[in-house]
């Protein structure tokens, strides 16, 4: 284990509202992390604190083993791509790349220009004349070509079409394979990125709900589909996170790893076992249970 970020009991309050409560986690080197959660869960606040753009109310944090505030040794190794980055009015894409080249020590200009071509961007056009999707593409390109040891993407997709998003995933995997480094992706499009993630941190109402390897999470829950009576037999006494029924049929999602014996029991009862995707699991875990009370950030 090689931690590059260590966060210990972080809290952030605005007046009476607590937006981050007692959050602790570790980010290890050269892994792709998903920072997931609903709107207002506290994802962006955490990313702002990590990148030293916001002070926590309490708690400690080390990034690359040091405190990040006004610390250029740390900040020069970070690249944070925000959802809606603002640019000076006069800037063209080519100017953004030039500034990025001067900020990021590992910047690869050749790669950046290749990406501009792949994403079909007009290099000489002014930023304020770009469409929403093109602006997002510029962010994606800066994030990838920075080759920063810790690269954070906060909802980089706004306005990106399916083709461009796919291109992003493809380039991310390719470049990560060639130049391993640490990525944190924050996104709502969980199904699309779930295969890319090695580790998932799920935030709900300012707290950590899940902090586990993606592969572990895939086996964390299952859905049983079948005749209500039989399904109830199988899932009695289990931790049920979702249940629906129509006619005599019932689907019940259980938060538990299914073992071989249970799988055979299900088969005997004529119950179909359906896997639960990361997205479904998160919807069930963070859905309307009334505990999602948190201040709007």
């Amino acid at each position: 284990m090689n931690p590059i970020v260590e966060v210990n009991r972080l809290n952030k309050t605005y007046g009476k509202d607590t937006v981050i409560r007692d959050v602790s986690f570790v980010i290890e080197q050269n892994k792709i992390y998903g920072l997931l959660g609903r709107n207002g869960a506290g994802k962006t606040t955490i990313m702002h604190i990590l990148t030293a753009q916001l002070f926590p109310t309490s708690g400690d944090m080390l990034v690359f083993g040091e405190k990040p505030y006004e610390n250029n040794r740390v900040l020069s190794r970070l690249c944070f791509i925000k959802e809606s980055q603002k640019y000076p009015d006069s800037f063209r894409i080519v100017d953004v790349l030039a500034v990025a080249a001067s900020i990021y020590p590992n910047w690869d200009q050749k790669y950046a220009l290749q990406l501009v071509e792949d994403f079909r961007l007009p290099l000489k056009r002014r930023m304020k004349k770009l469409s929403r999707g093109m602006l997002s593409s510029v962010g994606v390109i800066v994030g990838l070509a920075s080759r920063a040891p810790l690269t954070i993407f906060d909802e980089p997709y706004l306005g990106l079409d399916a083709v461009a998003r796919n291109l992003f995933y493809e380039k991310l995997i390719e470049d990560y394979a060639e130049y391993p480094r640490t990525f944190i992706l924050s996104t709502h499009l969980i199904d699309e990125v779930s295969n890319l993630l090695e580790h998932v941190i799920l935030i709900d109402a300012g707290k950590i709900l899940i902090d586990e390897d993606a592969d572990e999470i895939r086996e964390k829950a299952y859905t049983a589909v079948g005749a209500a009576q039989q399904v109830n037999k199988l899932t009695a006494g289990k931790k049920i996170i979702h249940q629906e029924s129509i006619g005599g049929m019932m689907t019940t999602t259980v938060l538990e790893r299914l073992n071989g014996a249970q799988r055979r029991e299900a088969a005997t009862l004529g119950i179909e076992i359906v896997p639960v995707s990361l997205q479904q699991l998160i919807v069930h875990l963070t859905g309307n249970k009334g505990n999602g009370k948190v201040a709007e950030s």
């Binding site: 892994k31 792709i32 796919n166 995933y169 493809e170 995997i173 390719e174 990560y176 394979a177 060639e178 199904d191 699309e192 990125v193 779930s194 295969n195 890319l196 993630l197 090695e198 993606a214 592969d215 895939r218 086996e219 299952y222 055979r264 088969a267 005997t268 004529g270 359906v274 896997p275 639960v276 995707s277 990361l278």
Partner: protein
């Protein structure tokens, strides 16, 4: 994303199964080199660490072996080993499930046997 991956099971296991299928189907003959984990990762659009985990699973089982500085190769005898393993799984995965469904529909064992014969006649 990776359209061939299903949602519930760990991806590294699915990757290992894809490689197994390819060895059984002789798309990857014994003693030939298999793609690198990075190639698997790009092809299936998955995390390279996950792809490596899948490949290592097969290394642990002696299906693949590492040639230092060159890459991964299919071990000799791998195909036979896999076929044996899959035969064991076949009963659980297909036969049991089929019998349950047949019972639900009131299909007798004789009728089922007839159906299997009929199915075998097709090709």
């Amino acid at each position: 994303m990776g359209p061939i991956m299903d949602d519930g099971r760990p991806i590294f296991i699915q990757i290992a199964e894809k490689i197994e299928d390819d060895i059984i189907g002789e798309g990857m003959p014994e003693e030939t080199q298999v793609p690198s984990t990075n190639q698997f990762a790009s092809f299936y659009q998955i995390n390279p660490a996950t792809a490596a985990k899948g490949v290592n699973l097969l290394v642990d089982q002696g299906i693949l072996y590492k040639k230092r500085g060159i890459g991964m190769f299919v071990a000799s005898g791998a195909r036979e080993k896999l076929v044996e393993k899959r035969k064991e799984q076949f009963y659980e995965q297909y036969v049991i499930t089929m019998i349950h469904e047949a019972k639900k529909l009131g299909i007798t064992t004789d009728q089922l046997t007839d159906m299997v014969r009929r199915g075998d006649g097709l090709k």
